[in-house]
Amino acid sequence: MGIHTSVDPETDTVRFLSPEGALCRPIPSSIGDELLVMLYRAMTRTRIFDGKAVALQRTGQLGTFASALGQEAVGVGAAAAMQARDVLAPSYRDHGAQFLRGMTMAECLLYWGGDERGSDFAGPRLDFPNCVPVATQIAHAVGAAYAFKLRREDRVVLTFIGDGGTSNGGFYEALNMAGVWKTPAVIVINNNGWAISTPCARECAAASLAQKSVAVGIEGRQVDGNDVVAVYDTVRQAIEKARAGQGPTLIEALTYRLGDHTTADDATRYRDPELVRREWTREPIARLRAYLTRKGAWSQHKEDALQRECLEEVGQAVNAYLGAQPADCNAMFDHLYAALPASYSYQRDMARRFSPRNGGGHG
């Protein structure tokens, strides 16, 4: 596959479904209704989870949380194209992808609720935990992909980064190495338009973020990130290419963050509500529902059942999260090193002595 010298958002953006859910081009025959319904269910599940997580935060039952409202198609579409043996290196807003990978909702809540056990996924065991620093995870993905390539393993690493993250030097450094080493890595830019309050136009003067692939000699693609079919199909192709030893791909998914940056943010301070209303007409879930409904593959009855099912699943996860006892103070020391160095015993003993569980104060 040749190297793209440019990516033009007007002509090169991959899209199958229009905002109204009409077909812009034929969906590949390999993508059947069953898969589309699975993608729809996964996006809905993510949205219902997000709504509940924000409500938990608002009522003081969860820490700061980063909702994926409006951009469910990016995480779901990308993760659906992965195999279980592949590895995900997420950013901090990619639970839509992580749920499909096998991370449980209860684990996600534990993490945002302030408990490290939320990153000890029962599965997938090799996926990276959430990456809160911006752009550092791209290097992890490239290093992990190098390990697979070195061992001739048939595995690919997929990583996400936000639009703001592409301004960070770490993004470019790692992308450059991915290109030189032709590692089996797929880098997905989740361009939701905003780096907290800074719009994409203030982050980057290039016509697209996918163009950043040109300078490092890898292929760049741009997709409509609110079209889960486009995300899935493009990522699937990139993963197949990586698996075949053809190197990495940078994919820019154009979406929109319909919510605040996190629950600690108030987007009404910097965002025109009229623009947000317009973006609600382009969001991914209604779009796919319209398409599936028109095809006869979805109905109000199925929708009602799905909503009930998701609410029940989320409710069970919330109960599991709220019922989890906080870890003992030893947990701060238990996983710092493989074995706690002798010099740490004094500090651990002090933590134990001052732990409220052992009758200590609030120290």
Partner: protein, 326 residues
């Protein structure tokens, strides 16, 4: 048993481990064909191939970052940072990821990587090639910081660093790379981490140092012997986690302590050792703990660097002052 200098000992340790553990791989700038600017990796690419001895793009942050990713997937990457002045871009990856991956995932993923770098002043190098940032790394929970002071310790400690299940920052005193040779058995025997070495026994004063400063410290101990002062010398070797018990035992025996390091004085690692002694062995002391450190200045270019590095005379004077304090 071969007579090796320190950089050759590093090379032998890398080669031994690569031959015996196929998960070990090396990455860094100019480490392949060129064998590293100091030749620490000389001949290793020819022996182990381009896939395991990788010449990386010039990007220190990503070198550390890809090492984190490799380590998480079961490799044991040994990343070289060409000079310590260029190690600062790795701090983001080392503090935010390498040091925390085990803790963050409750042990599900780990990061058994080594970040190697030539370290310290005294070789007339250009600006940014002579820094001593050990205290910065020592401040990061979850890391090990190891500094050898001789070829034999470089060999044994580097093997231990590569076999350690957690990330290790391994700082190699550039000044010692070719200063002297020592008999080193290339037998794969490692030395213990997290342990100070008693380099010289004595009863009057404890001298604590590490890395290249062991040269001046041992020379000062010899000079003090002529004055009738019997100095005990401790090579800290692993800065973090610190084997404070060995230091305390020595100070309780001698009643006096002088700490010597090449890094700037303020918030240098000597302050940590002095504080531990003050908290836990104060009443054994016959005199205040002294620090002989570099000044709180930018490492000067070569014409002044000998005045920057603590000298034998400065150490001897500090010990004399400690001896008067009884």
């Amino acid at each position: 048993m071969a007579e090796l200098n320190l950089v050759e000992a590093v090379n032998h340790a890398l080669a031994y481990e690569m031959a015996n553990d196929e998960s070990v791989l090396l990455l860094g700038e100019d480490i392949g064909v060129n064998g590293g600017v100091f030749r620490a990796t000389n001949g290793l690419q020819a022996r182990f191939g381009c896939e395991r001895v990788i010449d990386t793009p010039l990007a220190e942050g990503a070198i550390a970052g890809v090492a984190v990713g490799m380590a998480a997937m079961g490799l044991k990457p040994v990343a070289e940072i060409q000079f310590t002045g260029f190690i600062y871009p790795t701090i983001d990856q080392m503090i935010n990821h390498a040091s925390r991956l085990r803790n963050r995932t409750r042990g599900r993923l780990t990061c058994p990587m080594v970040l190697r770098s030539p370290y310290g002043a005294g070789i007339h190098a250009p600006e940014h090639h002579s820094e001593s940032p050990e205290a910065i790394f020592a401040h990061m929970p979850g890391l090990r910081v190891v500094i050898p002071s001789s070829p034999a310790r470089a060999y044994g400690l580097l093997l231990a660093a590569m076999r350690d299940p957690d990330p290790v920052v391994f700082l190699e005193p550039t000044r010692l790379y070719r200063l002297f040779k020592q008999a080193v058995a290339d037998d794969g025997e490692s030395l213990p981490l997290d342990a100070c070495f008693l380099s010289r026994e004595g009863k009057d004063v404890t001298l604590v140092a590490w890395g290249a400063m062991m040269q001046e410290t041992l020379a000062a101990a010899d000079a003090l012997e002529q004055e009738g002062v019997d100095a005990e010398v401790i090579d800290v070797a692993t800065i973090k986690p610190l084997d404070v018990e060995t230091i305390l035992r020595s100070v309780e025996k001698t009643g006096r302590c002088v700490i010597i390091h090449e890094a700037p004085r303020t918030a240098g690692f000597g302050a940590e050792i002095a504080a531990e002694i003050a908290e836990r062995a104060l009443f054994s002391l016959l005199a205040p703990v002294k620090r002989v450190a570099a000044y709180d200045v930018v490492v000067p270019l070569s014409r002044l660097e000998r005045q920057y590095i603590p000298s034998v005379d400065r150490i001897v004077e500090a010990v004399r002052s400690a001896m008067e304090g009884s």
